[in-house]
């Protein structure tokens, strides 16, 4: 391989580098964009990225770590997972001399840098927007599922907000992960709407759930009466938000592509033997429909262009690490 200019070994071309990306979930736009970002960064670094994943199969995820160890890859990125399940395999990988970085899963190992999107903040940003829009008084339908780590973290913000603003009331909680997620949730939300006509806002801290809420509101023709607050963003989400009559008013998000890229950079640094901070937190941003409409943003590309800070998370940048110049992140 032709090495990178000024790069430390083994990125100087002395070796073909293979990195395993081991995932808990493979589906959904967030996951796909994360992967795309990781892939682009890996290509730029000359890393062969091997993606392991079987949708929502925790024990398979643990197995994949061992498989990666067997393959003697140069580094492992663990993307989501249960910390109880993954901490031992991860420790075993470290023992086998393979560096590991983790995204959104706490592997409880000092040798493993933790990359995380700040889920609590993510939830908080969206909720703060709600509090502002409603002057601290809203009847909220909460659409979420317990037991999913990022959602549980976002739930903490919701509990905090409810305590802080007694005017914000949880009228009902619903939500399902059954697929097709959007339409299944739409069906539930429609039923909720009829039973609780006093709801005037929805908090759905995951965009797939949010899409379900929006679909329900449209089908129940209540899109002008109720506002929706979510987390995460994607081209499809933007297209919905900028519609004239969209009830979807705000979403808090990080750029999954950037996180993917940061994850790859982190593992590359570990492989090169360069110190990486223990905790790398990706800050989220709030996007409101009004803003998006005003700036004529129609898709992720334009979003990245017009919000450079969202576009490129300046973490773990080194002169020898090339980054994508087309503005993917």
């Amino acid at each position: 391989a032709t090495g990178l200019k000024g790069a430390p070994a083994p990125f100087d071309g002395s070796k073909k580098i293979r990195v395993a990306l081991i995932r808990q979930m493979t589906e959904g736009e967030f996951m796909q964009t994360y992967r795309a970002g990781a892939q682009v960064q890996a290509n730029l670094l000359g890393i062969k990225l091997i993606v392991f994943g079987k949708s929502m199969d925790n024990q398979a995820e643990a197995n994949f770590v061992y498989q990666a160890i067997n393959m003697k890859v140069d580094g492992i990125i663990i993307d989501h997972g249960l910390s109880e399940t993954m901490k031992k395999p991860a420790a075993d990988a470290i023992k086998a001399g393979i560096p590991v970085v983790a995204f959104d899963v706490d592997l409880k190992n000092p040798a493993i840098p933790q990359i995380a999107q700040d889920d609590e903040l993510l939830g908080m940003l969206a909720l703060k927007a709600m509090v502002k829009d409603f002057n601290g008084k809203a009847n909220v339908g909460y659409v979420s599922i317990a037991g999913i780590l990022p959602l549980d973290k976002r739930d903490k913000s919701w509990q905090k907000i409810k305590k802080e603003y007694p005017g914000i009331k949880e009228i009902v909680k619903t939500g399902t992960l059954e697929s097709p997620i959007a339409s299944k949730n739409a069906d539930q939300v429609k039923a909720v709407l009829l039973a609780h006509p006093n709801i005037n806002a929805f908090f759905a801290p995951y965009d797939e759930l949010g899409k379900g809420v929006v679909q329900a509101l449209r089908e129940a023709r209540k899109q002008d009466k109720i506002k929706v607050y979510t987390a995460d963003i994607s081209t499809q989400d933007i297209r919905e938000m900028i519609k004239k009559d969209s009830p979807w008013v705000a979403t808090a998000a990080t750029n999954p592509a950037s996180i993917g890229a940061v994850s790859v950079r982190a593992i590359a640094l570990k492989i090169a033997g360069i110190k990486v901070p223990k905790n790398i937190l990706i800050p989220p941003m709030l996007f409101t429909a009004k803003e998006l409409r005003k700036m004529k943003i129609k898709n992720m590309n334009e979003l990245r262009k017009k919000f450079p800070s969202f576009n490129s998370v300046d973490l773990l940048m080194y002169p020898w690490i090339p980054v994508d110049k087309k503005g993917l992140f």
Binding site: T26, E27, G28, E29, Q32, A36, I145, V172, K173, T174, G175, T176, E178, S179, P180, I181, A182, S183, K184, A186, D187, Q188, K190, A191, V192, L194, A195, P197, K211, Q215, R218, E219, A220, T235, Q236, R239, K298, N299, M300, N301
Partner: protein
């Protein structure tokens, strides 16, 4: 007494259903509103359509495990045609139906010509299709603005007419998918109940050899049953695509079990104890109604599956447990 038992067997399920209908409405009046009733119907259309398809294969004593993934691949195919290829929505519909027909045909040929047991053949196809649907878009969901392999953005859009299929309403009340569902259900009911084709399908399920010796080309009928199943599944897929408005890769996974459940519950309706179109429709509507009603009563989502199970088992005991006759010659 005997009459009572016969009555219970025949109407037991419907009585349970009517009872829940009453109970939900009394506890929550908006349950009975027209818009909610249509919302229940809308919620079950896709699953219901697939259940009709699977009924045809159950009747010939076969099984089609690939219906869910057939619907899913049609979601992807129609999105691909409209969004990536930027073709007219008519093509999207035609190509999707073609997919359904083709899959059904292959299933039929595998079962009839290669003599592979139905469960096995359709399971193989299920995996195959599940994989195939991901390939054109490299595992990504398909939506306008998505990044294509050549680096450009997909410019095609879901046609308004297409979306109308999933989201439109007649008289501002009756959702179009519900109409499609109803039409399909009536056609299926009519064919199975009042035509020679239906009679032959049932007879094949009872004793294939006897039907062969009555001069019927049994193979052709069996293949036809799978083609019908595939085609109906593709119609379900088209409606699903039109409802969610994008090529969501996760859309197919939950459909299979629910459709099969509906068709199986259908055995108990009117105590017929065999697969039948009316029963399948009632079965899925029943499940949809339970889900809707329980959500309205704010029962937590995690109790709903449980209640669904309890009611299902109770209805089954009613229908099957009471009738002790056992054909024996």
């Amino acid at each position: 007494m005997e009459k009572f038992v016969a009555f219970a067997i025949k109407y037991g399920f419907l009585i349970v259903m009517a009872g829940s209908f009453l109970a939900f409405g009394l506890l929550e009046h908006s349950f009975w509103s027209w818009s909610n009733l249509f919302s229940i119907l809308l919620g079950v259309t896709i699953v219901g359509i697939l259940a009709i398809g699977v009924t045809f294969t159950l009747i010939i004593d076969g099984f089609d495990l690939s219906i869910g993934s057939t619907a899913a691949i049609c979601v992807m195919a129609s999105s691909y045609v409209m969004v990536v290829l930027d073709l007219n929505y008519i093509f999207a519909i035609l190509i999707s139906i073609l997919c359904g027909v083709l899959i059904g045909l292959i299933n039929g040929l595998l079962i009839v010509k290669a003599k592979i047991p139905d469960l096995l053949a359709t399971l193989g196809m299920m995996f195959l299709i599940q994989g195939l649907q991901l390939i054109p878009s490299a595992g990504m969901s398909i939506g306008t603005g998505m990044m294509l392999a050549n680096g450009t953005e997909a410019k095609g859009e879901f046609a308004q007419q297409f979306l109308y299929l999933g989201q439109g309403r007649l008289f501002n009340l009756i959702p179009i998918p519900v109409i499609v569902f109803a039409v399909l259900a009536i056609i299926a009911y009519f064919i199975l109940q009042y035509t020679k084709w239906g009679r032959i399908l049932y007879a094949i399920g009872g004793n294939e050899k006897a039907v062969k010796l009555a001069g019927v080309n049994v193979e052709r009928y069996k293949i036809a049953a799978y083609v019908i199943s595939g085609t109906i599944a593709s119609i379900g897929g088209i409606l699903l695509a039109a409802r969610i408005g994008r090529g969501d890769v996760t859309s197919g996974s939950g459909l299979l079990l629910d459709a099969v459940a509906g068709a199986l519950i259908g055995f108990a309706v009117l105590g017929v104890k065999k697969p039948n179109a009316l029963g399948s429709v009632v079965g899925v509507v029943f499940m949809g109604m339970l889900l809707n009603g329980l959500t309205m009563l704010s029962l937590p989502y995690y109790t709903q599956d449980f209640i669904k199970g309890i009611v299902l088992v109770a209805a089954l005991i009613f229908t099957f447990g009471l009738s002790k006759s056992d054909l024996s010659s």
